[in-house]
């Protein structure tokens, strides 16, 4: 485990020196503050449209950070010719994969912490109350969803030729899941076989990223928090997908030539 943490630590240090997070964070702040400064019909208590926009920007920014950061991890090591020296150390390929995953996931977590603190402060400036439990649930499940996406991108970086193609494919898949993942079964019902079985298989096989994404509406419209057993169950469900992608990445990386 020490090796895994060591690799993760290097990934974290490398990433907080990059501009990606800072640019996205500052952009989010500027856009939200500008939108929040607008008064509609002289009413200064209207906030939900700003919360809506802020959470959407947080999701978009976190997806960009997660996918672009992860997609270049292994290819960057190959390009800089540091992969062989790294594997020559007492560091197994599996430990390298898990270390990269953990580093990227922790970076996403830290970025999310900053984003959600800003979001909480923005919402509290008009609502004058702090539904901390709701925010904690949303942030936690968002982080778990990003874990799945990071694992998926890591697998993609071993399968696809270039970081750009990996990023594009990952973004497309994630966007499709977020937009229509919940309704694939409706499409399947209206189809003939074998298309129906194929779509049903995809529906059940896809990671349920749209569930944490849908939690945004509960936060925006001040619904009560979700019961913790359901949150725990979803977290385990997402963890299973993370492990699946990581194990697949390890199996592929074991057989992959790195010279």
């Amino acid at each position: 485990m020490r090796n895994v943490f060591a690799v993760a630590g290097i990934v974290i240090k490398e990433l907080y020196r990059r501009k990606d997070f800072y640019v996205l964070f500052i952009l989010t702040i500027i856009i939200c503050l500008v939108m929040g400064s607008i008064t509609v019909f002289n009413d200064t208590d209207i906030i939900r449209y700003v919360k809506d926009l802020c959470l959407l920007l947080i999701w978009v920014s976190s997806l960009i950070i997660a996918i672009t950061t992860t997609a270049r991890q292994i290819p960057a090591e190959k390009e800089q010719r540091t992969l062989l020296p790294l594997l020559a150390k007492p560091l197994s390929r599996t430990q390298l994969i898990f270390g990269k995953f953990l580093g990227c996931w922790v970076v996403c977590g830290l970025a999310l912490l900053c984003f959600y603190i800003f979001f909480g402060a923005l919402a509290a400036s008009r609502e004058h109350h702090w539904p901390l439990l709701n925010y904690a649930q949303a942030a936690f499940l968002h982080w778990m969803a990003l874990g799945v996406i990071v694992a998926m991108s890591l697998l993609g970086s071993l399968v696809f030729a270039a970081p750009s193609s990996n990023s594009t494919i990952c973004f497309s898949i994630v966007a499709a899941i977020l937009c229509i993942g919940r309704y694939l079964d409706l499409f399947a019902v209206r189809m003939q076989e074998p298309g129906r079985s194929l779509v049903y298989s995809i529906y059940y096989a896809l990671p349920p990223l749209e569930i944490p994404f849908g939690l945004r509406d509960r936060i925006i419209h001040d619904w009560p928090p979700v019961d913790w057993p359901s949150v725990g169950l979803l977290a385990l469900y997402l963890l299973a997908y993370m492990l699946f992608f990581l194990i697949a990445a390890c199996l592929i990386f074991r057989r992959k030539a790195v010279n």
Partner: protein, 277 residues
């Protein structure tokens, strides 16, 4: 030359509006999307998507509740999602808004003290008016909620006057403006002038269609009948409040032509004739 200059004036005014300049006619589609989004906010996020059964949401509820638009809703509004299709759908519903509520009735907390939360729909409605200034119902919905739950009659007046600048002489907007002057500003003289202007505008709206046809009881004539009846009934109330019983009776007789429930109006006429207010 006159029609050409009028067209140029309208075109210049339209090009000054930012969204219309950028999107052209397609700004109406975005305006409709913004209007629908406002209704989604009215329901605190519990709203059908294009994949769900939206029979009960064809007329946005925030507009239907104002009483100013005809309702085309069918089916149960509380169950557009239907039964869960499978275990995954059932599980995912725990994480999204899953109950039918209205913001003016307290929203998800069912707290009637927080009915002013209906203000949250206003930014989307404001955006809708900028994208499609010719959509009357948006002004009506904004002014209704500003006037009632939010107690901002002056802002409602401002909105209606903006709507009248874009849609000169619209009788529905004049009716709402008259209500503000009568019910909020307690200025019956000015309210009477506005109501009467509304009646005149109503008559001039479709000059080639006889009044009898416009007031015939039919789903397609709902807007015509509704506006005419409301204008005449409120003129009758105004005259009644000032003690002008004869004028009030005349207006109620006119309202009977458009009303589906003329018995109630006849009762009011009888009461006025007997000297009751």
């Amino acid at each position: 030359m006159q029609p050409r200059f009028q067209a140029m004036e309208i075109a210049r005014h339209e090009s000054n509006i930012f969204f219309i300049r950028i999107f052209g006619d397609s700004s109406r589609i975005f305006a409709n999307a913004a209007f629908t989004r406002a209704d989604a906010y009215y329901h605190s996020g519990y709203y059908p998507t294009i994949f769900d059964n939206n029979e009960a949401f064809k007329t946005p509820h925030m507009a239907e509740d104002t009483g100013a638009v005809a309702s085309h809703n069918e089916g149960e509004e509380t169950a557009f999602m239907g039964q869960p299709r499978d275990w995954l759908d059932a599980f995912s519903r725990r994480f999204i808004p899953n109950r039918h509520t209205h913001l003016d009735q307290g929203g998800p907390a069912d707290d009637l003290r927080s009915s002013s939360q209906v203000r949250e729909i206003l930014p989307w409605l404001d955006l809708a008016t900028q994208m499609n200034p010719q959509d009357i119902r948006t002004y009506l919905v904004i002014s209704f909620w500003l006037r009632t739950d939010l107690n901002q009659a002056s802002e409602a007046e401002h909105v209606l006057r903006g709507g009248l600048r874009e849609n000169p002489g619209n009788p529905q907007l004049l009716f709402e403006l008259g209500r503000i002057y009568f019910e909020d500003y307690h200025d019956p003289a000015r309210a009477r002038s506005i109501y009467e202007a509304g009646v005149r505008s109503w008559a001039l709206e479709k000059p080639k269609i006889p009044m009898v046809v416009r007031l015939k009881y039919d789903n397609s004539t709902f807007d015509d009948r509704f506006v005419f009846e409301q204008l005449e009934v409120h003129l009758a109330q105004l005259e009644g409040s000032l003690g002008n019983r004869e004028a009030a009776i005349v207006h109620l007789e006119q309202a009977k032509l458009a009303s589906p429930d003329s018995d109630a109006l006849q009762k009011m006429i009888d009461q006025l004739k007997q000297g009751h207010p």
